[in-house]
Symmetry: C2
Subunit: 223 residues, 2 copies
């Protein structure tokens, strides 16, 4: 298995922290990024403590979002959609594989639903690609719950990671990385534009979670 | 179990025929609808033959789409999105529970993707509800493959039927009906507007099918 140096932008949020924990558990070196380095370092210490005794775990450190990108092979965007474009545009991402798990959602009294991006012909992942044309953006990890990621299971082996992207090599790397979360490679789910479908699907999972008091995830049958 | 009289609009297409077969297998009375009654009758004869020896199966007959609606408790719309609005507006659906499994998709050389309805703030199911305000529209059965439906498995027990709707009673009926396909009730997946998320998800499954040479389906983990 290739081990990567992975920056997690928004690494102090529940999704970023949970995925960072899983990546490090899988042997990857993780730098959690945040607006303030001290906050990132505090979360990194918490994740490191959680990894105590896990054989083969990678190290977890903290830095500012921009510094975290520095030597990373892969950069995970795990930030809220609000402010996403400005932040992504500001980061040094040229030449890197950038993974977006960003879910642009809207909430009202009827629950969660998908936020419409570019009149329905866009997604957070495609926005990131447009803002960083020299990066290679891959969409993945949209549907794993922060609670489950931070939980005690060795792997989220009842769930699948759906991976979309336009460059085969980058997509393969992310599919391989997904094994640190589910115990097996992610599923090649097509071109990057299908992030339009994956991102707002999270609104459906949130509805299911509310109804059934659970932390649901997606499994693809037949692969 | 309640048994229903179910009209399948577009009942000679692969999805309509497959779902009609499963509903009849589950004991429901099915009327397959088509533009021409004779075509519907021929498909009904084919499904009836397929049901030979299935204990407790309901009858399957054919009629024009409009006639099929006549005495139905539930009406399934299993038609292509092209021409959908005109057809739905023409049917006698007032007072009925209408199930939409319609997937508005677009195809180009990069594969399938979701067709944008009403600038991203609509779906086939919502269009049907708007065109038939005295009907109660429920979205379901978007993700089951026609091939699997027509296949030999007793139930598609590795898959889930996601059900969205705004009226609890109608949604419950459809969740119960889903048991004739998967062997267990469908999953309450929220309000009707989430059909915006369910319908184009089929484009992702089509991409997966192409890549992995399979007939994939959706399973919700954690419910």
């Amino acid at each position: 298995m290739t081990t990567y140096r992975i920056a997690v932008i928004g690494g102090t949020g529940p999704q970023g922290k949970g995925l960072g924990y899983r990546f490090a558990r899988g042997g990857h070196t993780v730098v959690l990024g945040s607006r303030a380095a001290e906050k990132a370092e505090a979360t990194a210490a918490e994740v490191t403590e959680r990894l105590a005794g896990v054989e083969g775990a990678g190290t977890v450190t903290g830095a500012t979002n921009a510094d975290a990108c520095g030597e990373a092979d892969l950069v995970l965007l795990a930030v809220p959609y609000d402010g996403h474009d400005e932040l992504v545009a500001s980061l040094p991402l040229a030449g890197k594989v950038v993974i977006s798990c960003v879910n642009p959602l809207a909430f009202d009294k009827r629950g969660a639903h998908g936020l419409v991006i570019d009149g329905g012909e866009g997604s957070a992942a495609e926005s990131a690609q447009r803002l960083q044309p020299e990066a290679t953006v891959v969409g993945a990890f949209h549907h794993v719950s922060a609670v489950t990621l931070w939980g005690d299971a060795d792997f989220l082996d009842g769930e699948d990671i759906l991976v979309v992207g336009d460059k085969a090599e980058a997509k393969e790397q992310v599919m391989e990385l997904a094994a640190s979360v589910t115990g097996r490679p992610g599923i090649d789910s097509g071109k990057l534009r299908l992030a339009r479908q994956l991102e707002p699907l999270t609104a459906v999972l949130i509805s299911i979670n509310r109804k059934y008091k659970t932390h649901s995830g997606i499994r693809i049958h037949g692969v």
